[in-house]
Assembly symmetry: C2
Homo-oligomer: 306 residues x 2
Amino acid sequence: MTQLSIIFLGTSGSWPTVKRNVSAIAIKRGSEILLFDCGEGTQRQFQKSNASYMQISKIFITHFHGDHFLGLPGLIQTMQLNDRKKSLSIYGPKGINQLMENILNLGYFHPDYKINTYELNDEDSLHFGEYTINIIKVDHGVTTLGYSIQEKSRPGKFDKKKALKIGIPEGPLFSKIQKGETITLKNGQIIKPKQILGPARKGRKIVISGDTKPTKKMIDFAKFADILIHDSTFDSKLKDIANDYGHSTAYQSAEIAKNAKINKLFLTHISPRYLDNEILEKDARKIFKNSYVARDFQEIEVNYVG
Amino acid sequence: MTQLSIIFLGTSGSWPTVKRNVSAIAIKRGSEILLFDCGEGTQRQFQKSNASYMQISKIFITHFHGDHFLGLPGLIQTMQLNDRKKSLSIYGPKGINQLMENILNLGYFHPDYKINTYELNDEDSLHFGEYTINIIKVDHGVTTLGYSIQEKSRPGKFDKKKALKIGIPEGPLFSKIQKGETITLKNGQIIKPKQILGPARKGRKIVISGDTKPTKKMIDFAKFADILIHDSTFDSKLKDIANDYGHSTAYQSAEIAKNAKINKLFLTHISPRYLDNEILEKDARKIFKNSYVARDFQEIEVNYVG
């Protein structure tokens, strides 16, 4: 079973504070790290966390406000100084190609490893074997993308009793069935996986909203997610400011969480004005109990449900 | 007496570590801060220190390796988000104008306050009333500048005994003399400051080498400095690597300190390989006792001598 975890590396909105750095979320899946946004100082946040920037395979940028991408040049440079050889893929909205060209022409640095950049559009999907990255355009004034990581569904639960009853001998045939293969017994009997396995179990799903005011389409996009990480720059008292600047309140994020029937909500991009988590968590929990303000270096294991 | 202090905000070489951020040195003089280099994450180092980035009036960049300037775009942006109105001056080697143009065109940000950039050359001097910034080209492979801050000399010590003996009444005439003004006593006698004051006392001098291998001209440039802050990326065992890459060893920095007859040496741009200060301090103190490895957030008061 592939380990899947989220490490919050920066949860502050717009500028850093002593407690929170600017935006970055690492998603660790097996030996690979997917990085969502890369605010200034992200390389050092990695050093202070349980994750290594050398494991990053793909970086996804939500939009081109400085607190979401200014950590890229330093991170790219440090990976080279630490002998990175394998290529790096960087995804973002239209403009990422030009932005990366500009970033790679600052000062004297030029990377020796390959950097591939990809411009993404609303409703794009990227298929990477065991998981898919889905893209949604959100509403933040400037072009901004939200992302979901959706794992492929897994075969259903193995019913050992049934298997023995049918006459499958305990051993290698069990694991073939478990993997979804059809097998033939010594007596010539053909057994299909669906005879032994329960209904397919859905893969895990994590959704990252990016900076955005609340949108109806996020409800569909986040449907049944295990984890939704949503912009929650302000609390309900500052709803007008929040929405005018293309951000959400904690309560508005929680409304989406509730309507999308997700499991656990993490609030992020917290305005530096909030010195603790109480106001925002209270605001969100009025409507969705399983709401938490994300903290820098917090690590969330995402387990299979069922 | 104007307060003068140095706050080390980043003392690591090339990339950050958990303990040390990349290069930045704040010099606080009265209500003004001069920032020398601005590596990634400098704005947050300010937040964790006793200095405020809102007090920065001038930024001096030594050269265009990423660990010395990649904190500029975030710092400039955050100062604006915190309502900076006053203009900011940024100095650096030839190329700083173009670099700043590129930096200010990353993403969507454009500053509302004025940013003036200035290209500097070897042996330039910038006069700012009470102090002068002197520039020296050092030897780091790419064009790199060292800087000194030299205060104007102050009037000599007031000799109270002598003043009373000559017949100057205690009171406002004392302070006029102290400021260097010629006074006339009630009996018509004219008193010149030099009759009462000791020899002029030299202003304080701080020298920052930038990244460099040891150079002979640094000895003259740093002559009699109160504080010399010198590249000390490696220890003597790694002398060849140090010099090949345009850096100095702790011992080589200390040799310059000794020959320049400076007061106190701070070693900086410490390679991430050194987990404590011992090796480098030992190396330097073989030849110059008053040598210290700078630590992040260390604050040094620079007092008048004599």
